[in-house]
């Protein structure tokens, strides 16, 4: 058994303290880069750094080996300061093959370190990456400090005592790379050793091989003359408390579980597997002891309809999907809306249209969630801004849904869903309860009026099983009050307007928008997963003396009640979005403001410098 202390001695080389580091690990999708990245993230968080990650992988489970299409990457920034993005330029890039090198090198800073597995630059590897020349020899890597490491052969040598086949031995090379990176940044190997024990508990020889590979990588760093020193990143000054790492989809699932608990409800999820939303289904399925029922439906439509059925029965009902699935759910969501039942619809956005870019991020479903249903059918829409924010968003969405008797749409995206960051663990006893009541007697003399409204225009949530409150709901227009089918023209106008007004009323209930930065000059309005890049860019610009303020929208429908007033204080408005300008169009139409778009549609999140450049281009 290898223990952390004697087998992984602290370095004897000098250590340079830096405030933050951005590392990207890139290799074949079978090379275990996501695993390596997750370990580096967790370890860095455990050592007190603030962390932000950006996993980036192909849509194919095993894309052709060694090709550019098969490259899988994981970027992590760990820092002694509070950070909001996984970083722009890379301080270090680890490349397991030529395809990874050629597709990622452009993001490495000129001062950055390039670490390559030199064993995988044979003629056949170059051919797979469609390279005529070896980039290690043709000058491509000239500008960078490059460290060529024969990872494959050294890993084989290191794991030899276990007697593993060459094929299995080669699978351990990500642990060799991990050992080297951990050594370089003075990371603690203990959590990873624990991870190996747990993950490979049924395969002790594989566990041992991985430990040996990890150790070989660590010792290589210490012995090779290529590295004169290591780097250390001190702990960040986060507010006191107990922290853990969370990923967006996990935080969303936990937020939903929490919302159910504090509203005294049992949770029902109707869902159909789809990237990048499936992890919410997986996570919720694990927690049946919280009274969670998960239904993997036959299709997206059945998923949303089952949720409506569960909502009718009194559960906290949820359906999760991504863009293509939300498109299919439109009619079912519309029924939830006209039935005026509370439920949550989650859209973890990905690149579109159609199947689009399943594993890449985008913000291009806003118009669809706002307007993508037949009839005048507005619904409250809320967007998470970071992985940990997903937790709070889930609770807030259920608060609104149950108070106003309305389906609420939560927007997330692939970047948030798979990204990780430290999360200060909340005290469960401090959550404000969500009060939900169900009537048990008639509300109009001896009659029960299922559409009699309260001050929030919400109707009573009367549950099947309650004597004397029998009523029928349906998709046909209904008379206000009685809920009976009605084709009366004035009633229809009244009902459409009432359902719209109910959504507007949400603005009175939720927090107004807050401005960060300057209160005049240029205003940046952002929403969803671009928060981190925008926030960091505004701080950078303010530090340079540029007059720019920032409003990040949590609710997209309704907009915050003070947004119009805020916009008036500024000369210019810039709306950065990962789409062709969807929020920008809505803002223009609603506030008659000349909002300028900063639009990126590459399946990748914004870099901070892209926003900074966008601000500089229009701000004086």
């Amino acid at each position: 058994m290898i223990s952390a202390t004697d087998q992984f001695p602290p370095t004897s080389k000098p250590s340079e303290s830096v405030s933050g580091v951005t590392v990207r690990l890139a290799g074949d999708s079978g090379d275990g880069m996501q695993l390596l990245g997750t370990q580096l993230t967790n370890t860095s968080a455990l050592s007190g750094n603030d962390v932000a990650t950006f996993p980036d992988f192909p849509a194919e489970i095993r894309a052709p080996r060694g090709t550019r299409a098969g490259v899988s990457g994981f970027q992590v920034q760990f820092s002694a300061e509070e950070i909001f993005t996984p970083g722009d330029g890379l301080d270090a890039l680890v490349c397991m093959n030529p395809a990874a090198l050629i597709t990622n090198l452009g993001d490495l800073k000129k001062t950055g370190i390039l670490i390559v597995n030199s064993d995988s630059f044979e003629a056949k590897d170059l051919k797979l990456a469609k390279l005529d020349e070896n980039p290690l020899e043709d000058g491509t890597i000239e500008p960078y400090r490059t460290i060529k490491v024969a990872m494959t052969s050294m890993t084989r040598g290191a794991v030899e005592p276990t007697g593993l086949s060459v094929k299995l031995a080669d699978r351990c090379k990500n642990f060799f790379a991990m050992g080297l990176v951990f050594w370089l940044y003075g990371r603690d190997v203990e959590p990873t050793l624990r991870f190996i024990d747990k993950k490979f508990s049924s395969k002790p020889e594989i566990a041992e091989a991985n430990r040996l590979a990890l150790k070989a990588g660590w010792h290589y760093g210490e012995t090779t003359e290529d590295f004169a020193s290591t780097y250390s990143v001190p702990a960040a000054e986060l507010s006191p408390g107990t922290y853990r790492n969370v990923m967006g989809n996990q935080a969303l699932a936990w937020g939903l579980i929490t919302a159910a608990k504090i509203s005294n409800k049992e949770l029902f999820l109707g869902s159909y597997p789809i990237t990048p939303a499936s992890d919410i289904l997986h996570e919720l399925s694990k927690h049946k002891n919280f009274g969670v029922r998960t239904f993997q439906a036959e299709d997206e439509i059945a998923a949303v309809c089952s949720a409506v059925g569960a909502a009718f029965g009194g559960s906290m009902a949820i359906t999760t999907s991504s863009g293509p699935g939300i498109a299919l759910k439109g009619e079912g969501i519309g029924l939830g809306l006209i039935l005026e039942l509370p439920m949550i619809v989650i859209d973890v956005q990905r690149g579109g249209p159609s199947t689009g870019l399943p594993t890449k991020t985008e913000q291009s479903d806003l118009m669809m969630t706002m307007y993508g249903r037949n009839g005048d059918s507005p619904l409250p829409v809320i967007a998470a801004r970071s992985p940990s924010d997903c937790f709070d968003v889930a609770i807030e969405a259920w608060r609104v849904a149950s108070k106003f008797m309305v389906p609420v749409i939560i927007m997330s995206d692939g970047y948030i869903a798979n990204g990780a960051e430290p999360w200060k663990i909340p005290d469960p006893s401090k959550f404000e309860k969500i009060e939900i009541s169900h009537p048990d007697k008639p509300n109009d003399g001896d009659n029960f009026l299922p559409y009699k409204r309260d001050e929030n225009l919400a109707r009573p949530w009367a549950l099947p099983g309650t004597p004397e409150l029998m009523h029928r709901v349906g998709g046909l227009e209904k008379q206000d009050g009685t809920g009976n089918v009605s084709y009366d023209p004035d009633n229809h106008q009244h009902m459409v307007e009432t359902r719209g007004k109910k959504v507007d009323l949400v603005a009175e209930f939720v927090d107004p928008a807050k401005v960060e930065g300057s209160s005049s000059g240029t205003l940046v309005i952002s929403w969803g997963g671009t928060y981190g890049a925008c926030h960091t860019a505004i701080k950078t610009c303010n530090a340079e003396g540029i007059n720019v303020g920032h409003v990040h929208l949590r609710w997209l429908n309704p907009f915050p009640r003070n947004l119009g007033e805020i916009i008036k204080q500024y000369d210019k408005v810039l709306v950065p979005e990962l789409n062709m300008g969807q929020l920008g169009s809505i803002l223009r139409q609603k506030y008659l403001v000349d909002a300028k778009g900063l639009n990126k549609i590459k399946g990748k999140p914004f870099q901070v410098n892209e926003i900074v450049d966008g601000i500089k281009a229009i701000a004086k």
Partner: protein
């Protein structure tokens, strides 16, 4: 004061809404028999829920003084799945039609049957689209001339009973809107079955497809055209003059003056495999009498029972969910 619960009469299950089907429509009879069935089986209004899709038959929930949902086209099984999975104590009925269940809702129909959710599905089969004013449906015969098929329909129809059996349904039956006694009996059997029970009802649309089931209803032909299935009994029809015998893998009609009853095919609705039920579902008039009654009734755990059992088991194994434990599981660190 009496401690006995008030016994409800069929009329107690009627809502205050005017029934708006065309006069003479077969739906009226099914509605009337349903009220009888609920009263006879001692059901309460508050614990009964009707869920329908879209179509003439799907207006059904509005006419019942129970809980109800008139949902969207073809999806009633999915709404029922969400409701019954979370409220297994409710008595849930799905009302659907041939277009609703077999065309737009074909997928959900198949999946609710294989899952064996404990609900009762009644498919009003009139072999036409009534509410959209008379287009052919997935059960219309080839050559049906309608507004959308002026030269006759060209697609081969589906047989609802065969589809249900192929989809692993645990209870499959057929009845006829005007055969009141049989319909009531069949619905009671369906109601008593644990798991999804499916009944195809031959229903006359007197406006757009009048008389399509006449052969099975008219005095002159019905004895020859239908065969009443009874578990454990030989398959006899035409007032006891004819029977069905198996010849190799194929059924054949035989004259009972020449063949002994013991040589006939005997019905076994509880058979483990569905071959007999499927064979019966393929018998179509005029070559054969069309069976009515219960084709198949087998026991299998229901979806709603199992989904709730998993929650109970998880709570027994891990204890009731504790948020602090959930958040604190795995690696954490403290900042002072």
């Amino acid at each position: 004061m009496s401690t006995e619960l008030p016994v409800l009469k069929p009329a107690d299950f009627a809502s205050d809404q005017d029934v708006r089907w065309c006069p003479g429509c077969g739906d009226y009879s099914i509605l009337a028999q349903m009220k009888k069935v609920l009263a006879e089986t001692g059901k309460t209004r508050e614990n009964t829920v009707f869920i329908s899709g879209i179509g003439c038959s799907s207006r059904f929930p509005y006419y019942m003084n129970t809980y109800g949902m008139h949902s969207i086209h073809g999806r009633a099984p999915a709404f029922a799945t969400g409701l019954k999975s979370t409220r297994p104590e409710l008595d849930v009925w799905v009302i659907t039609g041939d277009g609703d269940a077999l065309s737009i809702g074909g997928n959900h129909f198949m999946h609710i049957l294989r899952r064996n959710l404990d609900v009762n599905i009644i498919l009003f089969n009139n072999a036409i689209y009534g509410l959209t004013k008379g287009q052919y449906s997935p059960t219309s015969k080839v050559g049906t001339v309608t507004k959308s098929t002026p030269r006759g329909s060209i697609d081969h129809p589906l047989n609802p009973i065969s589809v249900a059996i192929a989809a692993e349904a645990s209870f499959v039956a057929r009845s006829i809107d005007t055969n009141i006694k049989h319909l009531v009996k069949t619905m009671i059997r369906a109601s008593e079955h644990k798991g999804t029970s499916f009944i195809e009802v031959y229903q006359n649309c007197n406006v757009f497809n009048d008389g399509t089931w006449d052969y099975a209803k008219n005095k002159a032909t019905k004895e020859e055209a239908t065969l009443v299935l009874e578990h454990g009994k030989p398959m006899v029809f035409a007032k006891g003059t004819k029977g069905i015998r198996l010849n190799g893998f194929m059924p054949e009609v035989v004259d009972l003056e020449k063949v002994a009853q013991d040589d006939l095919l005997f019905h076994d609705e509880k058979a483990d495999n569905s071959q007999l039920a499927f064979l019966l579902s393929r018998m179509r008039y005029p070559e054969f009498p069309e069976p009515i009654g219960v084709f198949r009734a087998v026991e299998r755990p229901s979806y709603d029972q199992m989904i709730n059992q998993q929650v109970t088991d998880a709570r027994a194994d891990k204890g009731d969910g504790d948020l602090a434990k959930l958040f604190g599981a795995g690696d954490t660190w403290s900042v002072k």
